[in-house]
C-alpha cells in the first residue's frame, strides 16, 4: 500500500508523516504521536472516548482516516490547559464536582465540553446534556459532569468579566 504524506497541526505543533491510507486518526495520535489521552471505547463512533477537536469541531477520531485530517488543526486533551499552563477550568471543575471516576471517558468528555462552551458559552442543563450526548460514561451517571461543565461556564464568564 502506498503511503500518503500528511501535514497537520496537533496541539499547536506542526506534524508531518507518511501514513497508510487506512490508518485511523485515533491510532495515529495514540501510537505514532504518543498522545494516549484520547481513548478507544468502541471504534464505531458511539462512545466518544476518542473525541478530538478538528478545526473547531468535535470529531470522533476512530472514524476518521489520518489522511482526511491532512492540513487540519487538531486539539487533543493534551493540548487543553489553563492560561498559566495548569489545569483548565473544565479540568478543575471536573475534579471539584467529581465529574469522573475511572477517567476513561474523561479526555473525550472534556475535549467535547471545551468545544461546547465555545459554541455556547452559557448553556442550560438541557443544552449541556444534549451537547454531550455523543460521549458515553459508564461510571458517573453524567450528573456531576453536567454540574462540572456548568461550573466551568461560570468560571469562564467570571474570568472574562474580570478581564473586561
Amino acid at each position: 500500500m502506498d503511503k500518503l504524506h500528511v501535514k497537520l497541526q496537533v496541539n499547536g505543533k506542526p506534524v508531518e508523516a507518511l501514513v497508510e491510507p487506512r490508518l485511523l486518526l485515533i491510532h495515529f495520535l495514540r501510537e505514532e504521536l504518543g498522545l494516549t489521552g484520547p481513548h478507544i471505547g468502541c471504534e464505531t463512533s458511539h462512545c466518544g472516548a476518542c473525541t478530538v477537536d478538528i478545526g473547531g469541531r468535535s470529531v470522533k477520531s476512530c472514524t476518521v482516516f489520518t489522511a482526511q485530517a491532512n492540513g487540519a488543526e487538531i486539539t487533543t486533551i493534551e493540548g487543553i490547559e489553563g492560561a498559566d499552563g495548569g489545569l483548565h477550568a473544565l479540568q478543575e471543575m471536573f475534579r471539584e464536582h467529581h465529574g469522573l471516576q475511572c477517567g476513561f471517558c474523561t479526555p473525550g468528555m472534556i475535549t467535547r465540553a471545551w468545544r461546547l462552551l465555545e459554541e455556547n458559552p452559557d448553556p442550560s442543563e438541557a443544552e449541556i446534556r444534549q451537547g454531550m450526548a455523543g460521549n458515553l460514561c459508564r461510571c458517573t451517571g453524567y450528573q456531576n459532569i453536567v454540574k462540572a461543565i456548568r461550573a466551568a461556564a461560570d468560571a469562564r464568564q467570571a474570568q472574562q468579566e474580570a478581564a473586561e
Binding site: H27, T44, E78, R95, L100
Partner: protein, 806 residues
C-alpha cells in the same frame, strides 16, 4: 465523647479523614489525559495479537489452515489449540471449577469463540491475517434456551464431560446440566404453601446483559528469557489471583511472575475472570521472545467476555390474608453458556442468591438453582453486584409487588408489615445468612416522607381517571424497592476463589518525616481508592490524607489480596487498612510514652498525637513520633514504623436502601420518562460522601440501562443480536435523569470503622425500582408481571396486550 475545642476541630479537619468530601487525588492526572491504561502501553518490539473467532454458535472445527496468514508480511505466528496442547494450555480452569477452551479444541460452543490467535507487527496486519485464516466448520444444532437444553433429545454441548455424572458442585443429571444448588427446607416450605391463605406465583426472568466498561479487556505480556521473569500488565480486578492462577497453569514459579493492573477504565465485574486472550498473549510472548499486546474490541467484549445475569426465576410466595409473608419458594434455571465461568466464591455456585428473602422476616424458605450449558458465551459475573445479589433482590422485590396485587394491598404497606425489625438484628435468615445490622422501617419512612408517597399515589389515581376519560395517553408508574445487599466477601471459613481465602490486606510504611505509603491487595477501577483509603488512615493514624500515598495493583510490591469486585474493597481491604493503622498507633504509643517519659497507659490518642492524660500541654505528634522511630534507639523496640494487616472478615456486611422511581409512560409509543428518582442508601459509616453519591449516580444509571433496554440477545441460531453499542443500550446524558440521593447511617457492628460498602447498591436496588414502576403503571389494567428489559417496544406490546390501544 468529650467536646472538641475549635483548635481540635481545625486539627481534625486538616487531616481530611473519615466523613469528609475530600477531592480525588486521581483526577489531576485523568483530566489531563495522563492516565496509564493498558492500551496506552508501548514496549520495544511489542507485537499485537488478535483472534480468529467462530461465526457459528455450535460447530465442529474440521480444519484450520493458517498458511496464507503466516505468509503475510508482518505476521509472526498463528497459534491454534494444537500449538497450546503440548504446554497443556489449550484448556484452562475457570473460577467455577469447570474448564474452558483457550482455543477451539475440535469444536466451538458459542459465536465469537476463540479459534486461533494471530500475532503480528501491528493491529492492522493482525486484522488482515485474521481474515486469511481458513477454518472449515461443520455446523451442529444450536440450543440457546436452557429449558430446551435439558430436554432428553437436546444436542450434547460438552462432549468432553458428557459422561461425567459428578461435577464441581455435585451430581449432574443431564449432559448439559452443570449443578443443582439447594438451600433451605423444601418440605417445610411446600407445607407452608399448601396451607397458605394466599399464594402468588410467577416466572421472573432477569435477562442476559453485560457490564460493558468503557475500556474493554486487554493485556501486555512480556517474558524476559534472560532472567526467566514474566510480567503481565492487564485489566485485572484481581491481580494477585491472576498471578497465582498464571503460575498454577503455566508452571512458571510464582516469584517469577509479576502482574500489574495499571489504571483500569471501569470493571463492573467484566475484568474479574481469566480470558483466553491473557493466556494467548503470555504464550505468544514466550514463543516470540518479545512483549505481546492483546486488547479486545467492543464487539469481542460484548460477545465473549463475561456476560451477567440470565436467570429464570420461578417463584411462589405465601402469605396470610392480611399480608404476613409466611413462606418463599424459588427455583432458578441459570443459563451459564458454553462453559461454567461464573465468578463466584467456590462453595457458592449461584453466588449469594440465597439472600433472596430480601429485607423481610420470612420464616420458611427453599431455593434451588440448576446451572445449564447452552450455546452462548460463558461468564455469569457480578455486574456491579455481589455474586447474584442483583438477581436475588430483583426476584424478591418483584414477588412482593406481585403478592401485593394478589392481596389488593399497597406494595409499601406490605413491605412495612414484613420488614425485619431493628430489634431482630443480628438476624438469621431462613436461607442461612446472619444480617449484621439494619433499621429498615426508619429508612423506608424517611423515603416515603421525602417523596410524599401518599401525594404521589393520589396524583397517580387522578391521572388514571383522566386516562380513562380519554384526556391523556400517559400513565404514571410508582416503583418502590427496598433492597438488602450482602457484600464484603468474605470470611475465609466459607469464602474462597480457587482455594484462595477471600481476606484482604494493607501494608503501611510511615516515612521518617511523617508522611506515609499504604499498599493494598485491591485495585481501583474508578472507585477512588487512592482518595478514600488515605482518609481511613488519616483518621486512624493522624497523618493528613494528603501526606499518604495509596498504591495498588502491582503484585511485586502490594501485599496479597483478592481484589476489587462484589463491593468488597471497603468491607475487607478498608478494614485491613484500619487494622494496620491501629498497629501503627500501638507502636507509636510506646514510642511517645518513651519520649514523654511516662508509662504507656498514661497517654491517650488525640486526633494526631498522643497526649499525657490530664496534662494536654505535654504531647508528641505523629510527625514527631515518626521521626523518633527512625533516629532514636528506644529500649525494647525495633526501629522503624511499619505494619501490615491481613483482614479476614468475621461476617459479610449488609447495606440496604429504599428507592422510589416515578415514571411517566406513554401507552401509544411505549416511551418512558423518569420524572423523579429518589435513592436512600444506608452503607453504614460514610467515608467520603462525595464519592458515595458518585457511586450511586453511576450505579443507578447502569440500573436504568439494564431495566429499560440493555441486553445481550441471541437469535435461535445463536447469533448475538446486540454486539455493538448501536444495539446494546447505553444511556447518554439525555436519557439519564437527575438522581436524588439521601442516606441513613446504621454502622456494621463487626467492621472496624462500621463501613459496609456502597458501589453496587444502586444497581441492586435500582433495577427493581424501575421495573416495579413499569409494572405498577399497568396494574390497574390487570398486569401482574412484564419481563425486562422494558424497552419502548416491549412496553408498547404490554399496552397492546392489555387492550389499551383501543
Amino acid at each position: 465523647m468529650t467536646e472538641q475545642s475549635p483548635v481540635d476541630l481545625d486539627r481534625a479537619e486538616k487531616l481530611q479523614g473519615l466523613g469528609c468530601r475530600r477531592k480525588r487525588v486521581e483526577d489531576a492526572r485523568f483530566t489531563q489525559g495522563k492516565g496509564n491504561y493498558v492500551d496506552d502501553m508501548k514496549l520495544k518490539g511489542m507485537l499485537f495479537g488478535d483472534f480468529v473467532r467462530s461465526p457459528y454458535a455450535h460447530a465442529r472445527v474440521k480444519s484450520i489452515d493458517a498458511e496464507a496468514a503466516k505468509a503475510l508480511p508482518g505476521v509472526v505466528a498463528v497459534l491454534t489449540a494444537d500449538d497450546l496442547r503440548p504446554l497443556n494450555l489449550h484448556w484452562m480452569p475457570t473460577l467455577a471449577g469447570d474448564k474452558q477452551m483457550v482455543l477451539a479444541d475440535g469444536k466451538v460452543l458459542y459465536q465469537g469463540q476463540e479459534v486461533a490467535f494471530v500475532i503480528a507487527e501491528n493491529r492492522y496486519i493482525a486484522a488482515d491475517a485474521v481474515d486469511l485464516v481458513e477454518v472449515e466448520y461443520e455446523a451442529l444444532p444450536v440450543v440457546t434456551d436452557p429449558f430446551k437444553a435439558l430436554a432428553d433429545d437436546a444436542p450434547v454441548l460438552r462432549e468432553d464431560i458428557a459422561d461425567q455424572k459428578e461435577g464441581a458442585h455435585g451430581p449432574r443429571r443431564h449432559p448439559n446440566h452443570i449443578f443443582t444448588w439447594e438451600q433451605g427446607d423444601k418440605a417445610a416450605t411446600e407445607a407452608v404453601l399448601a396451607g397458605a391463605e394466599v399464594v402468588a406465583e410467577e416466572m421472573i426472568y432477569y435477562h442476559r446483559t453485560h457490564p460493558c466498561p468503557l475500556e474493554t479487556c486487554g493485556c501486555v505480556a512480556s517474558m524476559d528469557k534472560v532472567n526467566g521473569k514474566l510480567t503481565l500488565w492487564g485489566t485485572f480486578q484481581a491481580p494477585h489471583a491472576v498471578r497465582t492462577v498464571a503460575s498454577l497453569i503455566s508452571g512458571i514459579a510464582e516469584h517469577n511472575i509479576r502482574v500489574v493492573s495499571p489504571d483500569i477504565g471501569g470493571g463492573f465485574g467484566n475484568k474479574v475472570g481469566v480470558y483466553p486472550g491473557y493466556i494467548c498473549a503470555v504464550v505468544a510472548s514466550i514463543v516470540t521472545g518479545v512483549p505481546v499486546k492483546w486488547v479486545e474490541d467492543r464487539m469481542d467484549n460484548l460477545m465473549t467476555t463475561a456476560f451477567a445475569r440470565d436467570y429464570w426465576m420461578q417463584g411462589k410466595i405465601a402469605a396470610t390474608k392480611d399480608g404476613r409473608i409466611t413462606g418463599l419458594w424459588c427455583h432458578v434455571t441459570a443459563d451459564h453458556g458454553g462453559f461454567d465461568a461464573c465468578a463466584d466464591p467456590t462453595k457458592f455456585p449461584a453466588g449469594f442468591f440465597n439472600i433472596c428473602t430480601g429485607s423481610y422476616d420470612i420464616p420458611t424458605a427453599w431455593l434451588a438453582v440448576d446451572g445449564v450449558y447452552t450455546n452462548k458465551a460463558p461468564g455469569g459475573v457480578a455486574y456491579r453486584c455481589s455474586f447474584r445479589v442483583t438477581e436475588a433482590s430483583y426476584f424478591i422485590e418483584r414477588m412482593v409487588d406481585i403478592l401485593a396485587i394478589k392481596l389488593g394491598m399497597d406494595p409499601v404497606e406490605l413491605r412495612l408489615k414484613n420488614f425485619i425489625r431493628k430489634d431482630q438484628f443480628p438476624y438469621q435468615s431462613a436461607l442461612g445468612w446472619e444480617y449484621d445490622s439494619g433499621d429498615y422501617h426508619t429508612a423506608m419512612e424517611k423515603a416515603l416522607a421525602a417523596v410524599d408517597y401518599a401525594g404521589l399515589r393520589r396524583e397517580q389515581a387522578e391521572r388514571l381517571d383522566a386516562f380513562k376519560r380519554g384526556e391523556t395517553r400517559k400513565l404514571i408508574g410508582i416503583g418502590v424497592s427496598f433492597f438488602t445487599e450482602i457484600v464484603g466477601a468474605g470470611p475465609v471459613k466459607n469464602c474462597d476463589i480457587l482455594g484462595l481465602g477471600m481476606f484482604d490486606s494493607c501494608e503501611i510504611r510511615i516515612h521518617p518525616t511523617g508522611s506515609a505509603i499504604a499498599r493494598l491487595g485491591t485495585i481501583s477501577q474508578g472507585q477512588g481508592h487512592a482518595t478514600t483509603f488515605a482518609q481511613i488512615l488519616a483518621s486512624e493514624i493522624g497523618i493528613p490524607a494528603d501526606a499518604i500515598t495509596v498504591e495498588e495493583g502491582d503484585t511485586d510490591t502490594a501485599p496479597y489480596g483478592l481484589g476489587t469486585y462484589g463491593s468488597r474493597s471497603t468491607p475487607v481491604a478498608g478494614a485491613a487498612t484500619a487494622m494496620a493503622g491501629r498497629k501503627i498507633r500501638a507502636k507509636a504509643q510506646m514510642i511517645a510514652a518513651y519520649l514523654l517519659e511516662v508509662h504507656d497507659d498514661d497517654i491517650e490518642w488525640d486526633i494526631d498525637r498522643f497526649v499525657v492524660k490530664g496534662a494536654p500541654e505535654r504531647f508528641k505528634t505523629m510527625t514527631e513520633i515518626a521521626f523518633a522511630a527512625y533516629n532514636q534507639a528506644i529500649p525494647g523496640l525495633e526501629p522503624g514504623l511499619e505494619a501490615v494487616s491481613y483482614y479476614d472478615p468475621p461476617n459479610m456486611t449488609y447495606p440496604f436502601g429504599a428507592y422510589v422511581c416515578v415514571m411517566e409512560i406513554d401507552v401509544d409509543t411505549g416511551e418512558t420518562e423518569i420524572r423523579r428518582f429518589y435513592a436512600l442508601d444506608d452503607c453504614g459509616t460514610r467515608i467520603n460522601p462525595m464519592i458515595i453519591e458518585g457511586q450511586v449516580h453511576g450505579g443507578l444509571t447502569e440500573a436504568l440501562a439494564i431495566a429499560m433496554g440493555q441486553e445481550i440477545a441471541y437469535d435461535e441460531n445463536g447469533n448475538v443480536m446486540t454486539a455493538t453499542l448501536m444495539d446494546f443500550f447505553m444511556p447518554t446524558a439525555v436519557e439519564t435523569p437527575t438522581w436524588e440521593t439521601d442516606h441513613t447511617v446504621t454502622p456494621s457492628p463487626h467492621h472496624p470503622i462500621g463501613a459496609k460498602g456502597v458501589g453496587e447498591s444502586p444497581n441492586v436496588g435500582g433495577v427493581s425500582a424501575f421495573s416495579n414502576a413499569v409494572n405498577d403503571a399497568f396494574r390497574p389494567f390487570g398486569l401482574t408481571h412484564a419481563q425486562m428489559p422494558h424497552d419502548h417496544w416491549r412496553i408498547w406490546r404490554t399496552a397492546q396486550q392489555l387492550g389499551l390501544h383501543g
